[in-house]
Symmetry: C2
Subunit: 373 residues, 2 copies
């Protein structure tokens, strides 16, 4: 790999990039093509930024900041008007052509073999023939998403849903309009656009949208500047916050405490902003409490019954090699998981994955045997 | 201060103690008498251990570990039988005679002027005349406790409640029986002893005691070995866990996230162990959710209404100098608080204390002005 060329295109000195190698910047030889990956953000370079062997750069997808209180955040952050799109609940990928083939990069800059197979199947290759430098930023969602399995989308297995586009070598996103135009032109699935709103009416409109999304098990919205000059802002439903907690508390000792805390705090601000009436507030409190205690209680009871606590997911692969590669991908990411033998199914092969949650197993096991805290 | 003598009595080398000075071991010149204080635990010396200028050592009160699941913890930890005492909810002090006067040491090894005044008033000095080396370990509880104000005890202001005794220069506690004997002999208030139970029946009995305590706003129990050979174990009620959360979420950004997490986890284990029926479980979930959301919502609403978020407490001092000294004590501990002018009251002077919760004020203030997370 040409360090000097890469450094120049990244806008940093070659000496600095060399010093980062092996610590902040890692080299991945597998799967093809070979790439350098920024493990952490450094001076203007997002974490997850990738430099392919041929010198092409795909910048990391920038973190979207969160509104904790909708109305003041909108007034402070936007001007004129705004667009509201659905925020999908899956994993973020950037799809680009690299080394002559379509690859799907995870947030961290790994090529995910399973996401890549899905992207290859769902994104017409003409899009890359016509726009060789294009980077399609989207969410992989559906029940067969191994990272975030969700039944609430129309996806049968895992679908790619476009929400923005970028270009190789460019840090900036081209925004909602450009993304929807590309999606329409090439028949690529894209996120739902709820519409465009004025600043004054936006908070009320978004509240309605988010409450409706929440009641249907969906996550929330991303609010965007129609002119794509300001960075987007996200906002999520109470039900989504609670569903996150419900998932995480099943594996309570394997998640960071900030994961729990941040979601409770979101609920507190939402209850205050939306001035929950007594009954609504009661329902919110119950939902929150239950989203933590029910899964945790089930975990403890399962462990008492002698069951191992595992995080189960399933993938649907067209090609058996993809399952093999995905297992290797997990291994390289340090995820400990057991892959069951593939079963033939409509559309390919189903593979059940049992991810080990060691810390929760150990902690629960020792507490039910009387260990003190 | 004689470092060599102190080191020898502590059982460490003088060189080691000298290296600790200013980092792990701090010198306090105020209030009298002068002392060295272990800020952190080191090889066999508890945090909060104090060496007075005259060479007397008062060891730190050992941390009592917590049962997360009562029945297995009891079976694993105790043998033969056990004693159950009430765990009071206040702050832990060690009261001893030092430099010719009675002093109350906080957990961290500071002489607290307010706790000292209370101890002087409530503990007959004969106890120290007759037992010069005695260290009285107890809880300061009541509505005028500035650290943990609680209305649920019979205390009018702040009461000292004895739960164990130790001796200067000794690391070990003398246990429940010795403590209650001293309390009776000298007319010192002591913690309630619920009784002595066999290992098999204990978990059910303690559950009943803890549920009853919880329903009356009390904290929980400490389980002790009747022979004082095994270290005690604590266990708390759901209501107490939730009241902790209720207090802390009012100042949500000034508390550690482990404070929140640990209390939720306790609830999860208790729900599993006690096999909550549907309605009880619902009530527990609601209680938990509400204990987090209600105070946080009130904080946000207060801030929107333009109020400053402060943690209010009040002390009742006999001597005005005690209030002045307590203010200095807070200052030295790094607590930022505003002391209002004293008002004459039955038994002395009432002083309102407003402790600033800067982080919660800042965070809430910026979020209601639209700052993103």
């Amino acid at each position: 790999m040409n360090i000097w060329g890469a450094a120049e295109r990244l806008g940093i000195s070659a000496e600095r990039l060399e010093r980062m190698l092996g610590r902040i910047v890692r080299t991945n030889d597998w799967p093809e093509p070979r790439l350098m990956r920024f493990d952490k953000a450094v001076s203007g370079i997002e974490a997850g930024t990738v430099v392919f062997d041929d010198g092409d750069i795909v910048y990391g997808y920038p973190k979207i900041r969160r509104a904790m209180m909708l109305a003041p955040a909108i007034k402070r952050h936007f001007s004129g008007g705004l667009l509201v799109e659905e925020k999908m609940n899956g994993h973020n990928v950037r799809v680009a052509r690299a080394g002559g083939r379509t690859v799907a990069l995870t947030r961290g800059g790994f090529i995910c073999p399973y996401s890549t197979e899905v992207a290859e199947g769902q994104i017409p290759s003409e899009i890359f023939d016509d726009n060789p430098g294009i980077v399609l930023c989207g969410e992989m969602v559906g029940p067969k998403n191994p990272y975030v399995p969700k039944d609430v989308y129309s996806a049968e297995a895992m679908d790619f849903v476009l929400f923005d586009i970028s270009r190789k070598g460019k840090r900036d996103m081209e925004g909602s309009k450009a993304a929807h135009a590309i999606a329409e032109e090439y028949g690529v699935r894209s996120v739902r656009l709820f519409g465009s709103f004025g600043i004054e009416e936006a908070a009320d409109e978004i509240r309605e949208i988010v409450e409706d999304l929440g009641s249907r098990g969906r996550e929330g919205v991303v609010i965007k500047d129609p002119e794509n000059l300001l960075s987007p802002v996200k906002y999520t439903s109470s039900e989504s916050n609670c569903r996150d907690l419900e998932f995480a508390f099943r594996y309570y000792n394997d998640y960071g405490q900030d994961f729990f805390f941040s979601r409770v705090v979101r609920e507190g601000f939402q209850a205050a902003e939306w001035s929950d009436a007594a009954a609504e507030f009661e329902a919110r409190c119950l939902r929150l409490g239950r989203s933590m205690l029910r899964p945790m209680r089930e975990t403890v009871e399962a462990k008492i019954a002698g069951d191992e606590i595992v995080q189960e997911a399933e993938i649907l692969v067209r090609d058996l090699q993809t399952a093999v590669d995905f297992e290797e991908h997990y291994r390289r990411m340090g995820v400990r998981a057991i892959f069951e033998p593939p079963r033939a199914a409509r559309g390919g092969f189903l593979v059940k994955i049992k991810r080990l949650v060691l810390s929760t197993n150990d902690k629960t096991g020792s507490v039910i045997q009387g260990q003190l805290w």
